[in-house]
Amino acid sequence: MRWMWIDRILELKPRERLVAIKTVSLSEEHLHDHFAAGPGSAALPIMPASLIIEGMAQSAGILVGHAGGFKEKVVLAKVNSAEITREALPGSTLRYTATMERFDTTGAATRGVVELIEQTSGGPVCTEIGRIDLMFSHLDQNLAGAEFPKHNFVFSDTFRTLLTTSGFEAW
């Protein structure tokens, strides 16, 4: 589970949208280095923006994989745009909403909204903090002649476990 950047899938509307969450925890090792204390400065643990993009890629990737019955090897091909306007600190939750914009045999395009849910004394507060639009390629359709393993190495048991623990039927 080392490279899972979402904790749970909340909603899956096939071929349309997927909503997933990720809780940012101070026990995650990378936060200790991002950013570590330096001479004269205290540590500043924040979720790296690159991993927020990865979280959206996994959310949207599952939406795309599900649309193809997980038969295709779906790989992130292009980050069309990514804008993140606020840091996510430990104790907060990221909510990724991925929406399918285009899907065909060659690949897919998705739009994504990132929200930050913070716990306050008045209850949870949800704020949109970013938008991430992605493109995915169906590997076997776009690299004719290239040799890939027959099994689907993109959608591995890890994704199956995530779907099952989120209450969805795994393939």
Binding site: K78, E101, D104
Partner: protein, 131 residues
Amino acid sequence: MTRDEILEKIRAVLVDALGVDDDEVTEAARLTTDLGAESIDFLDITFKLEQAFGIKIPQGELFPDSTAQDPKFIQDGKVTEAGLAEMRRKLPHIDFSDFARDPRLGQIGNVFTVGVLVKYVERKLGAGAPA
């Protein structure tokens, strides 16, 4: 829609897809060599053209699909006469005459110009006279 209006929309698509400046997007500009498009960008451009013009672009209609990888049509790293004929038939909006003089597979990217996209969309919208 006039040819200029089509070009303007295509310019916006390419600025968005490839991160280029709008004055770089001339009709003669080659998508790969001049505008830096990579293979996945062709899929992105296809998606964005569909949205911009409200058209459906089947796989292999705008850019070649499997012809350029079919062993029947490739010999010693070059596209054969049969391969060229097949591509001319499938992709009538593309001018292959320069490529035919040096049909090395690695050179095929040079045939995809902004003008090719304009011509394709013109045909698709029925705005242009058939070539």
